[in-house]
Homo-oligomer: 293 residues x 2
C-alpha cells in the first residue's frame, strides 16, 4: 500500500493566498473528487502535486519520498489539465510516441479503442483540435499511460452529453481493469457523484470537507413541512440552507440528527452532493446572500 | 402574438453541409432548449437567426418581416455566445452604455442586483474577464436589454455549480417578471430540463425533434426485466437503446406503447431528457465518426 501525501502546502500569488496549509493523503486505488468553486485553488493544488509549479512551503511525497525534482516519483503521476504541454504544430501520433518513451509504456490497445469510440482523427496536429477533442486527446493519454496516479482537471471541458457519458463509462472500465488512484476536479458534481469514492472540498484555499461520499451523503437531511414544525425540529442542528415554498419550509441539515422525535407533519430525506457543495461553499461567501437560492 | 420564423435555412462551409433545410417557428413567451452534439449546427443556426452570418438559402422572419439587414427586427433579438463582440480594452461600464443606446433601454435595477449576486467587478476591462465572468457579463446584458428574443449559446460555460444554480434561478425570475422568448443551447441537458418548455434537437444539420418537453418525456419508457420477457414485450416498438446488467435487460423505447399487456416480471418507467438525447443522436452517428468536429 503506497500513499500520496500532501503536507502543509501553502501558495500565494502576489498578495493573494491561494492555498493555506493544505494537508491531504491519497490512498491507493481510490477515486477522489476534488471540488471547489472557481478560484478555490484546485488547479493550483494539482499543479503543485505534479511539480509543475512550486509551493511557497510544504511538501508532496509519494511513499515518503519528496516528489520535488524527483523523476522516478513524478513519473508515477499524469496531470490532464487545461494547460497545454504540447506545441500546436506537433502531430498527435508523435505526442503519443514521446509520452510513451517518457513514461515507459502506453496501452495501445485501449488507446485504439478510445480513438475509434470518440471519433478522434489521430493524424492531426495538436493545435487543430477543437476544445472537445483537445480534452478527449489528453484523456486518452491520461488513461493509457502506465501511471499510478491519474489527475484530471476539468476532464469533460467542451464535451457533449454523449462524449461525457462515454468518458465516464470508459473511466470506470479502465479503473476496474487496472485499479489505480484518480483525482478528478470538476464543476459537474452530480455527473461524478456515482463515480467517486471520496470527496474533498476546497474553499478559499482551505480543505473544508474530506470524507467518503457515502458518509457525506448519509449526513445530508432535508427537513420539509410547515415552517413552525420544521424550525422546531431542526433547532440546534447544523442547518446549512433553507427554502420557502408558500407556507412550506425546507431546512437543509448537514450532520447527525440525534434521536429527537420527528413530528408527523415533517418529511425527512437525503439531498445530493451538488446541493451540499453549493450550501457549504456559499456559507463562506461573506454575507451569504445566495444561501437559499 | 408575434412569431420568429425560420424557413428553409441551409448553410455549408466549403464542402461541409452544416445546416440542411431548417424550418422552425418560435412562439411568444416560450423557453426553448436547442440541443445537439458538438458540430450539429446549433451555433451556426443561432448566428444566422441574428444575422451575424448569412445563410446560403432560406429566410428568417419576425412577424412576416425578413430580419436580413433589418435593424428594427434585429433590435428585437440578443445573442449571447462564445464569440466576443467587444474589444479587450473596453470597460464593462462602457459596453453597457453602448448597448443601452443601441437597444434603446437597459434594466439597471436588475443589472445592479445580478452584478452584486455574481460578485462581478464592473470596473474592469472586457479582456481581463475569466471564462466564467465573461459568460456572466454577457448573461447580464442578455437579461437586462429590452429584447423580445433572448438567444443563449452555452450560457453557463465556465460557471461553477453555485453560479449555474444562481443563473437558472435568475432566468426563471426574469422570465416570470417579464415574459419573453428564450432559446437556450447547452450541453448540460439535465440542468435545463426543468426550465425549458419545448425541446428542439439538431443532428447533423437537421431537426430530428421539435416538441413540448412534457410530450417528449411522456413517450420515454424504460422496460426492465428478464431479457426474454423484455424482448417479447418491446417487439415492434421503437427501441432506441438498451443495457444489460447480468441477466436483466433494459430496453429504452421512444413512442407509444399501444395497449399490449405488461408481464408481471417487467417494470416500466420513464427516463430523462439527457438519456433520450444521447440515444437519439448516437443512432444517427452511423460510421460518420468525424463529422462532428
Amino acid at each position: 500500500m503506497s500513499v500520496l501525501e500532501v503536507s502543509h502546502i501553502s501558495k500565494s500569488f502576489g498578495s493573494k493566498h491561494v492555498l493555506s496549509d493544505i494537508n491531504l493523503s491519497f490512498d491507493d486505488n481510490k477515486i477522489y473528487g476534488l471540488l471547489g468553486r472557481n478560484g478555490a485553488g484546485k488547479s493550483t493544488l494539482l499543479s503543485i502535486i505534479t511539480d509543475r509549479i512550486a509551493a511557497d512551503s510544504g511538501e508532496v511525497k509519494i511513499d515518503s519520498e519528496d516528489v520535488d525534482d524527483n523523476d522516478s516519483r513524478l513519473g508515477l503521476m499524469y496531470l490532464m489539465s487545461e494547460a497545454n504541454l504540447y506545441a500546436d504544430g506537433w502531430k498527435l501520433t508523435q505526442i503519443i510516441k514521446d509520452s510513451e518513451s517518457l513514461y515507459g509504456g502506453f496501452n495501445h490497445e485501449l488507446a485504439d479503442r478510445l480513438i475509434k469510440e470518440f471519433g478522434l482523427d489521430i493524424n492531426q496536429k495538436f493545435g487543430k483540435l477543437s476544445t472537445g477533442y483537445n480534452s478527449i486527446f489528453k484523456l486518452i493519454l491520461a488513461l493509457c499511460l502506465p501511471v499510478k496516479y491519474v489527475l484530471l482537471d476539468e476532464p469533460v471541458l467542451g464535451l457533449d452529453a454523449n462524449h461525457r457519458e462515454l468518458f465516464y463509462s470508459e473511466l470506470i472500465q479502465s479503473y476496474s481493469d487496472n485499479p489505480r488512484t484518480f483525482i478528478i476536479s470538476t464543476h459537474l458534481i452530480e455527473e461524478v457523484a456515482n463515480i467517486i469514492s471520496d470527496v474533498i472540498v476546497l474553499d478559499q484555499g482551505r480543505v473544508i470537507l474530506n470524507q467518503p461520499v457515502e458518509d457525506v451523503l448519509a449526513k445530508t437531511h432535508s427537513v420539509v413541512g410547515p415552517e413552525k414544525d420544521v424550525e422546531q425540529y431542526t433547532k440546534g442542528l447544523n442547518v446549512i440552507g433553507h427554502n420557502m415554498m408558500g407556507t412550506i419550509r425546507a431546512n437543509y441539515v448537514y450532520g447527525d440528527l440525534d434521536d429527537r422525535i420527528l413530528p408527523d407533519t415533517v418529511q425527512l430525506s437525503n439531498f445530493d452532493l451538488q446541493k451540499l457543495f453549493i450550501f457549504l461553499t456559499n456559507q463562506y461567501e461573506g454575507s451569504a446572500k445566495n444561501e437559499d437560492q
